[in-house]
Amino acid sequence: MGKTITEKIFDAHLRDTPFADNVVLDIDVVMCHEITTPLAITDLEARGLDRVFDPHKIKVVIDHVTPSKDSKSATQAKILRDWARRHHIPDFFDVGRNGVCHALFPEKGFIRPGYTVIMGDSHTCTHGAFGAFAAGVGTTDLEVGILKGVCAFRRPQTLRVEIHGVLPQGVYAKDVILAVIKRLTVKGATDMVMEFVGPVVEAMDMESRMTLCNMAVEAGATCGVCMPDRVTAEYLWPFIASDYADIQAAVADFQRWHSDPDAQYAGTVRFDVSDLAPQVTYGFKPDEVKDVSEMEGAPVDQVYMGSCTNGRISDLRVAAEILAGHRIADTVRGILAPATPKVYQQALEEGILKIFLDAGFCVTNPTCGACLGMSNGVLAEGEICASTTNRNFNGRMGKGGMVHLMSPATAAATAIAGHITDPRPYLRREEA
């Protein structure tokens, strides 16, 4: 019987099988940020176990509240910083070099096909875009990962998500994943890996694939995953060039991870996106999704561009294309947080930051801050934010606030109009 990519990765990392349905895996990359790691560190210290299994396999960033906004967040950052230095962890990213973890770590080439990855962050599923098994975990799992380099999982079921057709103009990976979550619901993929396949996924660049996998957890999934291919190899080439004779050799090697044609799936869902419209959430759950036409005119107070879902350079390029030559509505506060210093630099060099600034956006440093209502753009009671992030929970961006999730294109058009609107007319006008 054939195997899925996830089953192959599990087989290659199997450390222990405490029960038939439970496995303990060796972990290739343990990623840490300042919100969920400090309590793991202080607990390890209290237990007399202040050790790390391998400093080279631990990647550390301060990203959620940075630069620190108050004494408490400064203390969290300090605990993480001191720990990283004490254990000589080479890949530690502090102010000036830090960015949103799920954008920064792929950019550094830390994630490779066939890897196992954990982090104390639910959007760790993003890294499945590289053909890895990457799961968000709690602080205790993280703590054991830091100490022992292992993590326990139930044997995963896989849901095959086939994306057919051709993406229309003005419709992006974000719209696709919102449509997928709408159909599956917020618990439709619990305890499953969502395997994204089909011509639309194959045609996507790595950044779009990361957007797709990033929101797998919003359908309850353990991880999203894409088959590693030429697109993956080209993205990773600066980091893997010494391992392979040429890109073709890397592509051929990645093939060993691909799901077999006779692999067993818990289910298959098929989407044809050729007629898909831009998607927008309307409620307090990420499966409460409508076509943008049904949300046309809905008021917004703030437009936020950034996050591990849509804060990468391709996202900023799309938004800038729409914003160029426009001012955003007087009633709207626009906030752009490029996801990493590299994205920030590229946006600067390409003139994208100027477009955002000319349009009336505030450009902040790379951080997760506003997405979870911690800093740099928190909403007041009753305020509404059009956001390129991944969660619209009640109060997510500030107590009593509301969030509408959408693509960067829809967010840019919404910022100009001052209310939710379809980005496609703006793109068509550019062509005319």
Binding site: T36, K72, K148, T190, R391
Partner: protein, 174 residues
């Protein structure tokens, strides 16, 4: 063995997420006790008053489907623990939250929707008690009416509860 049971808080809604259980603005706390006053502070549920749940003697939560969805923050489990709530009974859980419960040696019990309905029907002043060895959950209404339900724990999760959590288990074994 730890006793799992006592006065139950009934939360009649699906998809209660981790931001509702403990809002992100409290994630800068570096002690578990710092979370204690903020249990369920942002829960969106008609008539619910967060002030009515902290330190009111609740030992368990009974709720609907997909409890604990959203963030991986273990703070959502710790805020229960520091309020002496050591068991959640639900139709289903989000994976990370469920694992965080067992990793702390706490109990996450899944029951079919009909059984959850039956517990709600006994409320609001219901007490529940888990018998880990017998795999049964008993719910007792204020008037004394009692219902009993069979549950199944994943064998590994049971080991974690018995070991007092994943760190203790893993440190001995790996």
């Amino acid at each position: 063995m730890k006793n799992f049971g006592g006065k139950a808080l009934l939360l009649d809604r699906n998809d209660i997420n981790t931001d509702e259980i403990i809002p992100a603005k409290y994630l800068t706390e570096i002690t578990k006790m710092g979370l204690q006053p903020h249990l369920l502070e942002d829960l969106k549920l008609g008539g619910f008053d967060p002030a009515s749940v902290c330190r009111q003697g609740y030992r368990a939560i009974v709720t609907r489907a997909n409890f604990g969805c959203g963030s991986s923050r273990e703070h959502a489990v710790w805020v229960l623990e520091v309020n002496d709530i050591t068991m959640v009974v639900a139709e289903s859980f989000a994976r990370i939250f469920r694992q965080n419960m067992f990793n702390n040696g706490l109990l996450a019990v899944e029951l079919p929707a009909a059984d959850i309905d039956a517990i709600f029907a006994l409320g609001p002043d219901v007490e529940i008690q888990a018998d880990l060895a017998g795999n049964r959950l008993t719910a007792t209404a204020a008037g004394g009416e009692q219902r009993s339900f069979a549950f199944r724990l994943n064998e590994f999760d049971r080991e974690l509860v018995l070991a007092g959590g994943w760190l203790a288990y893993a440190d001995q074994r790996y």
